[in-house]
């Protein structure tokens, strides 16, 4: 479908970006949060996370099923949780220094009203991690 000059201004390309940052054990940070009004649609197109380093020691996880660090996408205002419990809609999980990207060919769409939150989590009880998050979403108003 062609995009007209009147509809194009209602399409917003929005960042999900966190430069390299140190995240303490069991801590989390909201990287981005978008509130969707009724009729609005959010498309997640590119989302990547890099684990740059972990402090020395043996990692013990808070949530065993997740990586040592993860980027979780939560809906419904999950941001109010101080420490996410490892139940995101989907996530990027890393346990060794590396970079991972969600498959951009799979469509991930959310419809309003809702609140979509991107949370980076250090899932370890003892070790500090250095992470980086990069991504982009399209908001159709």
């Amino acid at each position: 479908m062609r995009i007209s000059t009147s509809s194009f201004p209602r399409i917003h390309s929005l960042p999900v970006a966190l430069p390299q940052m140190e995240l303490y054990q069991t801590d989390s940070i909201v990287v981005a949060q978008y509130k969707l009004l009724a009729g609005q649609v959010l498309k997640i197109r590119f989302l990547s996370m890099q684990l740059l380093g972990i402090s020395a020691g043996t990692p013990t996880k808070v949530t065993d099923s997740m990586g040592s660090v993860y980027l979780g996408v939560f809906a419904g205002g999950q941001h109010e949780l101080r420490k996410p419990t490892g139940t995101p809609i989907f996530s990027i999980n890393l346990s060794t220094p590396s970079a991972k990207v969600l498959n951009p060919n799979i469509k991930r769409e959310f419809s309003g009203p809702d609140v979509i939150t991107f949370v980076a989590v250090n899932n370890m009880t003892t070790l500090t991690a250095e992470i980086m998050v990069s991504g982009n979403v399209l908001l159709y108003s």
């Binding site: 430069p19 390299q20 890099q50 740059l52 220094p97 970079a99 990069s134």
Partner: protein
């Protein structure tokens, strides 16, 4: 002239390369973003601004003190693009990809940006490759406060 379609727009992703004003210690660096590009995908780079806000020590104009710079080939602060970068490696001696126009650097309190009149950098790897944008403080003796705003365009 071709038209913009929603199908095309879905395949073009503008990825932020962003750093709010941050204190960057001497001889230190930060990864701003890492973009994994699969075979068949294309990454275009054309726009980035780097601002040097302040420093912990007085910077005497643009005349660098001998021994002040870690890598004398670069200015006091720079943003470079690295291929398959490993964060434990110091970026000062590694090869930066692209041309001189793709290395954004300054030694003065100002905002510099990539010359948009120079042809964009286009990367089309034949195997999965990660490209990292890294900002580095090239000084041995002064902390710098810097900010970055830019983007790279990934075509899926």
């Amino acid at each position: 002239m071709s038209y913009l379609t929603d199908e095309y727009l879905d395949k073009v992703v503008d990825i932020p390369v962003n750093l709010p004003v941050t204190n960057l210690k001497s001889n230190d660096w930060l990864v701003l973003t890492t973009i994994a590009v699969a075979a068949g995908q294309t990454l275009d780079f054309n726009f980035l601004q780097l601002t040097l806000v302040s420093s912990s020590a007085s910077l005497d104009g643009c005349n660098s003190v001998e021994g002040e710079l870690i890598n004398p080939s670069y200015e006091r602060v720079f943003v470079g693009i690295y291929e398959n970068y490993v964060s434990t490696n110091s970026p000062y001696g590694l090869s930066i990809i692209g041309t001189d126009a793709d290395l954004i650097q300054t030694s003065e309190f100002t905002t510099v940006q990539r010359d948009v009149t120079v042809a964009k950098l286009t990367l089309s790897p034949t195997e999965p490759t990660t490209y990292s944008f890294v900002i580095a403080n090239n000084l041995t003796n002064s902390d710098l406060r810097v900010s970055v705003n830019g983007m790279a365009r990934l075509t899926i």
